[in-house]
């Protein structure tokens, strides 16, 4: 009865604050000639609906799991809808969940890890957030939902870039990077983007968590085959933001502003060597139990002592998913690295805790 990753229906979660352009992106996905059929779960029937696709209305019913874990919320309506959709396999190739502008992406993501029946049939592919280049900076100040959506994202479309000056664009990008340096960031107008950048990303697939460097470093490597919607020009150096002065709120590096969000940050900790799984596993489990509500996302690639394979994990709040993956290559440095994105993270405590697990 084992269902491999590839048999599972991929689910893309589309988030974004009101008016950012989610519906535009959705319509773009549905109308491109990709030959695929989608089941789309929406909260309000708007101006979407392509003959070939299945559109389902949802009611965003979030509930707490009765397991003593306060941040372990799931979408009950999604469980019901996905179970029902799965009885019609073959009718569609992938599922897209559009959330309302004020929604927290966590319950949607957690649904795929917490509900066994859903997890057996469907897999979360990526959280894609559409952000309005003109208004995002203001929303990050007054709308916690907008900040959550940026912090949670695997892919961010910074949309409506034609409505802002280059200076404003750099500013808002720096704000995004201050919260989430790991998401792939694309500049778009009218959400024009190759669909491969949005769909089938495998962002929650342990096999595909290859590196956890900030995305703009990675983007650099791709400059030879890509154009303006990767990270913009100027992103040519390490912005690794831990280790910067926590009190200064922005820095200039070769003309690029670099912000730290007061509330939401990422912390990346690396150890050039092995860690002891006997120490690390209890530490990370206790950490997410205690700090789960403030940790939105976590990821790690670890070299366990006497283990030829890389251990990879990823998490959403208190839920962790980890496994041994491919072997370390002979030419590869055994480096153990973990990253957290969350609210008011205590970087010193995280660093001390992680380094106490060193083998």
């Amino acid at each position: 009865m084992s269902t491999t990753m590839t048999d599972k229906i991929p689910v893309t979660v589309l988030t974004g604050y009101l008016g950012a352009g989610k519906t535009t992106l959705l319509n773009r996905i549905l109308s491109e000639p990709h030959g695929k059929k989608y089941a789309v779960i929406v909260n309000e029937f708007g101006e979407i609906g392509i003959d070939n696709d299945l559109v389902v209305g949802a009611d965003e019913e979030v509930f707490e799991m009765n397991n003593g874990c306060i941040c372990c919320t799931v979408r009950g309506d999604l469980i019901r809808i996905i179970e029902t959709l799965m009885k019609r396999k073959g009718r569609f190739d992938a599922i897209i969940v559009e959330t309302t502008g004020l929604a927290d992406p966590a319950p949607v993501a957690q649904t795929f890890f917490v509900d066994q029946d859903v997890g057996e049939k469907a897999r979360l592919d990526a959280v894609v957030t559409v952000a309005d280049a003109k208004w995002l900076a203001a929303r990050l100040k007054d709308a916690p939902e907008a900040k959550n959506q940026i912090a949670f994202a695997d892919v961010i479309l910074l949309n409506k870039t034609d409505l802002v000056s280059p200076e404003e664009l750099r500013e808002v990008e720096a704000r995004i990077r201050g919260i989430n340096p790991y998401a792939r960031l694309h500049r778009t107008q009218k959400c024009q983007i190759p669909l491969a950048e949005v769909l089938d990303r495998g962002a929650f697939d342990l096999e595909r968590i290859l590196e956890i460097e900030p995305a703009f470093l990675e983007a650099d490597d791709h400059h030879h085959h890509d154009h303006d919607h990767e990270c913009g020009p100027g992103c040519t150096h390490d912005h690794h933001h831990h280790g910067h002065d926590q009190h200064g709120h922005h820095h200039h590096h070769g003309g690029l502003k670099h912000y730290h969000d007061e509330e939401m940050q990422s912390v990346s900790i690396a150890h050039e060597g092995d860690v002891d799984p006997e120490k690390f596993m209890p530490w990370i489990n206790d950490l997410v139990q205690a700090e789960g509500p403030s940790i939105l996302r976590s990821k790690g690639i670890l070299a366990f002592a006497k283990e030829p394979k890389r251990f990879v994990f990823q998490g959403v709040h208190m839920i962790l998913d980890g496994d041994l993956q491919r072997e370390w290559r002979p030419d590869e440095k055994r480096v153990s690295r973990i990253v957290f994105i969350g609210r008011n993270l205590n970087e010193d405590a995280l660093r001390k805790g992680f380094l106490s697990c060193v083998a």
């Binding site: 009865m1 389902v56 209305g57 009611d59 019913e61 509930f63 799991m65 009765n66 397991n67 009950g76 309506d77 469980i79 019901r80 809808i81 029902t84 009885k87 019609r88 396999k89 509900d115 066994q116 029946d117």
Partner: protein, 330 residues
């Protein structure tokens, strides 16, 4: 693990193949019945399937000579042995989430938070539930509907002009069922457990320890046992006297595969058990003896099981449309 059952009924099974998810298998009156998620209703072995709904059937309930189906077209149909579906409800395109069959020709369904009851004369009454219900069940006595939702169950007398009663227990409740003697109300829950209330004093019962959700259950003909799916055996709770509190359940048909469907024989303490690997067994409660009905078929989970009224035939179906008809030696 006990040895594989030696007694077999495999040679008394007629194999059927539909290539569609089987939602319900059983008998409508004397006719073999299969209901498919793709919208088809197969009545008898020869007739062409009926397609009353515009597209898929999401939920179905059947009892005796009545079948009620709810579709993603927002419609609710009732079909009898004559094979002429009649529309009994229309929620204008909203998905029908749950249906139930009630006394004297009545039925109930829900779409979103709106619960509708239709009495035998066709009169409709609606109630708004606190959250989207997934399970509806009529009480065995009186015209009363249980509505399972997040944090409890609402008990509604549609013909009585009073506030519905609320039974509270934190967490999402899925399906619900009254015991045949009307003394207990049971729900299945998101957290792999059952909850129950003694209706006389609203006392709570918790039935836990399942590795998966219970999505199929069946009361024995004498009403004293409730068989449930969700573990690597059928878990059978005793409901004599004060119910299962403080008592261990029976575990029947232990195999290294989860039970996905159960159906008690209508006249004897014999339970039909369907598994996630496509196996079907009959187990006699009195001595735990097992009879093999199907050794896996195409290996997809059994999704539906149903006996005829005399308990002489058993129909079953699977997720991929593998199905069969067992005729017991008379």
């Amino acid at each position: 693990m006990p040895a594989a059952p030696v007694q077999t009924l495999v040679d008394r099974v007629t194999t059927l193949a539909f290539d569609r998810f089987v939602l319900k298998a059983g008998f409508l009156g004397d006719d073999l019945l299969f209901v498919f998620a793709d919208g088809g209703i197969q009545l008898g072995r020869e007739a062409a399937p009926l397609h009353p709904h515009a597209d898929s059937i999401l939920v179905a309930a059947h009892a005796g000579t009545r079948l009620v189906t709810g579709g993603d077209d927002g419609r609710v149909f009732e079909t009898g042995p004559a094979g002429k579906p009649a529309e009994i409800g229309n929620e204008k395109g909203r998905w029908i989430d749950a249906v139930a069959i009630g006394p004297e020709g009545s039925a109930a369904w829900s779409a979103g938070k709106t619960v509708t009851v239709r009495d035998g004369k066709g009169r409709l009454k609606t109630l708004t539930a606190p959250s989207t219900p997934q399970g509806l069940a009529f009480a065995p006595k009186g015209f009363r509907l249980a509505i399972a939702h997040i944090d409890g169950v609402t008990l509604w007398f549609p013909n009585v002009d009073a506030e519905p009663e609320r039974l509270t227990w934190k967490g999402p409740h899925l399906d619900t069922s009254f015991s045949p003697d009307n003394r207990f109300l049971i729900t299945s829950m998101q957290e792999n457990q059952l909850h129950g209330w003694r209706l006389a004093d609203k006392g709570h019962m918790r039935m836990s320890g399942y590795p998966a959700k219970t999505r199929s259950w069946s009361w024995s003909h004498d009403g004293l046992w409730l068989a449930t799916s969700g573990a690597e055996a059928a878990i059978i709770w005793p409901f004599a006297k004060e119910g299962p509190t403080g008592k261990a359940p029976r575990e029947c048909g232990i195999r290294p595969a989860k039970v996905t469907a159960v159906a008690f024989h209508p006249r004897a303490l014999v339970l039909a058990i369907g598994y996630e690997d496509g196996w079907v067994l009959l187990v006699r409660l009195t001595d735990a003896s097992e009879l093999l009905v199907r050794a896996g078929g195409d290996g997809t989970p059994i999704t539906a099981l149903g006996w005829d009224r005399d308990g002489k035939r058993l129909a079953f179906g699977s997720e991929s449309g593998g199905a069969g008809l067992l005729a017991l030696p008379v």
